[in-house]
Assembly symmetry: C2
Homo-oligomer: 122 residues x 2
C-alpha cells in the first residue's frame, strides 16, 4: 500500500499549484519550498509512481527533460518558449490530426508543440 509521506505530499502539491508541466528539477525546487530535505531521487521515484498510478501523465516535449502534468486534464497541447524554455498549456487541437498517418499505421496518441516566444519574453 501507499504511504502518505510529507515528501509525496509536497510533490503532489507542486503539481496542484503549477499551471504548466514540470520537469523533475522544477518539481524538486518547488517541493523543497515545503520539504527542504527532499532529494532528487525521491522526486524521480515519485514521478514514476504517480505516473504508474495514473495521477500524473508524462509530457515528452522536445529540448528539455521529460515533464509531467496532472493526468486528469482535458486534451490540450503545449507551447515551449525558446527564450525561457518554459512550457505552457495550449487549449484546443487541430481537427483531423490522426488522418495524417500513412496507410497501415495506427495512431493512438499525438503531441503538438509550438515553439516561439512567450508573452513575458516577447
Amino acid at each position: 500500500m501507499q504511504r502518505d509521506t510529507q515528501q509525496r505530499r509536497a510533490i503532489r502539491r507542486a503539481f496542484l499549484d503549477a499551471a504548466n508541466p514540470l520537469t523533475p528539477d522544477e518539481v524538486l525546487s518547488r517541493a523543497q519550498g515545503v520539504m527542504p530535505s527532499l532529494g532528487i531521487a525521491t522526486v524521480y521515484r515519485n514521478l514514476k509512481l504517480l505516473t504508474d498510478e495514473g495521477w500524473l501523465a508524462p509530457v515528452e516535449l522536445p529540448g528539455d527533460s521529460i515533464r509531467y502534468e496532472i493526468a486528469a486534464r482535458p486534451h490540450h497541447h503545449h507551447f515551449v518558449c525558446r527564450q525561457c524554455s518554459q512550457a505552457f498549456d495550449v487549449p484546443g487541437c487541430p481537427p483531423g490530426v490522426e488522418r495524417l498517418a500513412p496507410r497501415g499505421f495506427t495512431v493512438d496518441s499525438h503531441e503538438l508543440v509550438l515553439f516561439g516566444r512567450c508573452a513575458a519574453c516577447a
Copy 2:
C-alpha cells in the same frame, strides 16, 4: 574552412541514404559500414557542425535521443512507432496550427508527432 574528411562524407552519406530522421547512434552504425573506425564523438561533432551549417535540422521527437534530418526537405511531421521506436516522415500539416497559441505568444515553428504502430509492427 571545412575539410572533406572520409568520416564527414560517411556521415553525410548516411543521411542521404536514410528515409527517416536518425539518432546519433543510428548515424554511427550506418556510417561505420563505410568507415569502421568512426567514433561516436566525431558523429556528435559533425551533427553539430552540419546543423550549424544548415545542412541538417534537429528533429526533437519525444521519447528518444534527438534525431537529425537533411534540412532541405519540405515541411512535414513525424510518426513514432511505440513498438520499434523508429521515426517515420508524415507528409502534410493541419492548417491553422499557429493560431492555437495564446494571445501575446509568437510562434516561429511547430512539431507534430503521431504515436502508434507502424505498418510493419501492426
